[in-house]
C-alpha cells in the first residue's frame, strides 16, 4: 500500500469514494447486473482525470477551453458516472438510477452535454477515431489549451479500427491527444493473452508513433504524473490494473466482467474497500 500525502491523498480519497459509489450502483441495479469488474479497474484513472487533471465546469458545459473526455470502453460507465458526481455533473440520486428504465445513466454512456457526457459510446473501437477528430478540430480551430482524453480497454485493442485511429493520430502529430488503456488483462472470454495475443502492447503503440508510458493504474501519483506529461505527439498511458480492484472476491476474476451484486456481496465488498488505506 502506498501512503499518500497532500494532493495525492486527496486523489486517493476521491478514488475510494468513486469505488464505493460503483458498489452502490451495482447493488441498486439489482438483477440486471453491471459491468462492475471493468468499472472498478478504472477507478483511479477516472479519479485522477476528473479530480486532478481535466478542466471541466458544470456551470458552463460548453466552456470552449474545457478538456474533452471520451470513454471508448463504454462498459466502464459506472466509474465514469461516479467521477462525474465528484465534479458536480450528476448527483447521488442520479447514480442510484443507473440502468433503471427512465435513467439518463445508460449501461453505456449516451451523449448528454448538460450532464457532462459529451460522447456516446458502447461499440468498441470507435472512441479513439472520434478523439482524433476532436483533437484535430481543436488544433484547426486555434484552441491550444484544451486536451482530449480517450479511455480504452485492453481487450478493445483487438479492434482493427483502433489501429487505423492510432496511425492517424501520429500522422497528424496530435500532442493534445492522450489515450489511457485500462490494462486489466481480462476480457469477456478470459485473459486477454489467451483470447487474442496482443504481442507487446507498449511496443505496438510505440511502433505506431505514440509516446508510450506504462504505469501502475491504481497508483494515483504515477497516473497524475503521466497524465500531466505532454510531448510533441500523441501520448498513450498503459495503466496496469486489476479487474474488480479493491474487492477481494472480484479481483482478477473474469466472472465479474458483468454480474449481479447481491446484498451480502455488497457488504463484503464495502468492508474491503473501506478498510483499505488508499
Amino acid at each position: 500500500m502506498t501512503e499518500y500525502t497532500g494532493e495525492f491523498r486527496r486523489l486517493a480519497d476521491v478514488a475510494k469514494s468513486i469505488r464505493i459509489d460503483c458498489l452502490k450502483m451495482a447493488l441498486a441495479a439489482g438483477a440486471t447486473g453491471t459491468h462492475i469488474g471493468g468499472g472498478l479497474s478504472l477507478v483511479e484513472i477516472m479519479a485522477v482525470l476528473y479530480a486532478g487533471v481535466m478542466r471541466t465546469d458544470p456551470s458552463w458545459v460548453e466552456w470552449p477551453e474545457r478538456d474533452r473526455f471520451i470513454l471508448s470502453k463504454g462498459h466502464g460507465a459506472m466509474a465514469y458516472y461516479a467521477a462525474l458526481k465528484q465534479v458536480g455533473f450528476v448527483t447521488d440520486e442520479d447514480l442510484l438510477t443507473f440502468k433503471s428504465d427512465e435513467t439518463f445513466l445508460y449501461g453505456h454512456p449516451s451523449k448528454n452535454l448538460e450532464r457532462g457526457i459529451e460522447f456516446s459510446s458502447g461499440s468498441l473501437g470507435m472512441g479513439l477515431g472520434l478523439g482524433v477528430g476532436v483533437a484535430l478540430g481543436l488544433t484547426l480551430g486555434g484552441n491550444s489549451t484544451s486536451r482530449v482524453f480517450v479511455v480504452m480497454g485492453d481487450g478493445e485493442c483487438n479492434e482493427g479500427s483502433v489501429w487505423e485511429s492510432a496511425s492517424s493520430a501520429a500522422h497528424f502529430e496530435l500532442s493534445n491527444l492522450t489515450a489511457v488503456i485500462d490494462r486489466n488483462g481480462l476480457q469477456y472470454d478470459g485473459p486477454t493473452e489467451s483470447v487474442l495475443k496482443m504481442q507487446d502492447l507498449p511496443d505496438m503503440w510505440t511502433s505506431f508513433g505514440w509516446n508510450t508510458t506504462v504505469v501502475d493504474g491504481h497508483d494515483v501519483k504515477q497516473l497524475y504524473q503521466a497524465l500531466h506529461n505532454q510531448s510533441d505527439g500523441p501520448t498513450v498511458i498503459i495503466a496496469e490494473t486489476a479487474k474488480g480492484k479493491g474487492v477481494s472476491f472480484m479481483e482478477g476474476n473474469p466472472s465479474w466482467h458483468h454480474s449481479r451484486l447481491n446484498s451480502q456481496q455488497f457488504d463484503a465488498a464495502m468492508e474491503d474497500v473501506t478498510r483499505s488505506s488508499d
Binding site: F119, G122, G129, L138, G141, S161
Partner: protein, 318 residues
C-alpha cells in the same frame, strides 16, 4: 458541361464553392482525393483538406469528431465502403450522436461495374435509411449533384449523399429549378403510370415515359432525390392520380427506394399497383456501366419491357 465530368468531378467542382457557404467547411477522404474529384479543392484549400489513408471507419469517426468541434465536414469514399464497411461508425458516431457529417458515397450503384461486385454499391440506401437521424440523398444528374452538395452545406444533421451514374452522366435538368431537401421533383404527370426514380436512373425513367407516351399511355416521372425523409405528400399525389407506381433504382430491390415508397403507399386508402425495379438481389458480373444497366433491366428499354405488359394487364382488368 458538368455532365461530362460525371458525378464525382461535379462534386469536386461544387466543393470549391463550399467555403463561401460555410467558412468552417472541411473535406476529408480515405485515399480517394482524385477519385472524388477533389484534386483542385485540395490544391486550392490545402488547409481544409484532410486525407486519412485507406481507413474508412476511422474517417467517419474523425469526421464526427471534427463536426463536434463545430466544423462542417464532407467525407468521401466509395459508396459501399461508406455504407457497409463503416456502417457501425455511421450508426453510432453520426446517427446516434446526431453529428452532422455529410458522408459522400462515390461510384454508387453499378458505376464501378468493371471492378466487380466488391466496388458496386447496391445495399447503401438500405443501410443508410435504416439509421435514425440520417438524411439520404441520391441526385438524378450533375446539376442536381451541385444543388444537393450546396444544400447539404447548410443542413445540420448527418447525411449520406449517393453519387453514381456514368461518365458522361445523363442529363435530367437542362435548366435551373428549385431544389429542396425532402421535396421530390414532379418532372411530368401521368394517369396510367408514374415512375418514381432516384439517382442516375431518373434519366432512363424520363426516356421510358416518353416511349410509353408514344405508345398511347399517360406516363409521369418523379425524381425522388431525397430517399429519406421521403416526400410523402408527393407520393400521395402520385398514388391519387396514377393507376400504377413504378419505383426504379440502381440498388438491390430489397430495402431501398422501392421499399421506402411501398412502406408509405401501404398506408394510403386506395393504393395503386406498385412495381419495384432494381437489381434483383444478385451480385452482377463485372461489366461496363452501360452493359450492366441493360443487364439489370434499368435502361429505358428495359424499364418499358417490364412495365408495358403490366399496363396492358391493368387495362384488361379495368
Amino acid at each position: 458541361m458538368w455532365s461530362m465530368l460525371g458525378s464525382a468531378g461535379t462534386f469536386g467542382l461544387a466543393a470549391l464553392e463550399l467555403p463561401q457557404i460555410d467558412p468552417k467547411v472541411l473535406v476529408i477522404t480515405s485515399d480517394l482525393r482524385n477519385f472524388s474529384g477533389l484534386d483542385r479543392f485540395a490544391a486550392t484549400h490545402p488547409d481544409r483538406f484532410i486525407n486519412v489513408g485507406i481507413a474508412e471507419q476511422n474517417m467517419v469517426s474523425v469526421a464526427a469528431g471534427l463536426v463536434h468541434e463545430g466544423f462542417s465536414v464532407f467525407a468521401t469514399t466509395y459508396a459501399t465502403f461508406a455504407a457497409a464497411r463503416s456502417a457501425d461508425q455511421v450508426r453510432v458516431n453520426m446517427g446516434y450522436m446526431n453529428l452532422g457529417v455529410k458522408l459522400v458515397g462515390m461510384a454508387a450503384g453499378l458505376s464501378a461495374g468493371l471492378l466487380g461486385a466488391t466496388h458496386m454499391s447496391l445495399e447503401d440506401l438500405a443501410v443508410m435509411r435504416a439509421i435514425p437521424n440520417m438524411t439520404v440523398i441520391s441526385p438524378a444528374d450533375c446539376t442536381e449533384t451541385v444543388k444537393a452538395t450546396l444544400a447539404l452545406a447548410s443542413h445540420d444533421g448527418p447525411a449520406y449523399l449517393r453519387l453514381g451514374g456514368g461518365v458522361p452522366h445523363k442529363v435530367v435538368f437542362d435548366s435551373d429549378y428549385e431544389f429542396e431537401i425532402g421535396k421530390g421533383v414532379h418532372l411530368r404527370r401521368g394517369s396510367d403510370v408514374t415512375f418514381v426514380g432516384s439517382g442516375s436512373v431518373v434519366a432512363s425513367c424520363v426516356e421510358a415515359a416518353s416511349i410509353l407516351e408514344a405508345e398511347g399511355w399517360s406516363a409521369g416521372v418523379v425524381d425522388m432525390h431525397t430517399v429519406k425523409p421521403i416526400d410523402t405528400h408527393l407520393l400521395e399525389t402520385v398514388a391519387d392520380e396514377s393507376k400504377m407506381v413504378v419505383t426504379v433504382e440502381e440498388h438491390n430491390v430489397i430495402a431501398g427506394l422501392g421499399s421506402a415508397v411501398t412502406e408509405q403507399l401501404a398506408g394510403v386508402g386506395n393504393p395503386p399497383l406498385i412495381v419495384r425495379l432494381g437489381v434483383a438481389d444478385f451480385f452482377p458480373h463485372a461489366a461496363s456501366y452501360d452493359h450492366l444497366v441493360r443487364l439489370t433491366g434499368l435502361s429505358a428499354d428495359g424499364i418499358v419491357n417490364s412495365v408495358g405488359p403490366k399496363l396492358e394487364a391493368l387495362r384488361l382488368m379495368s
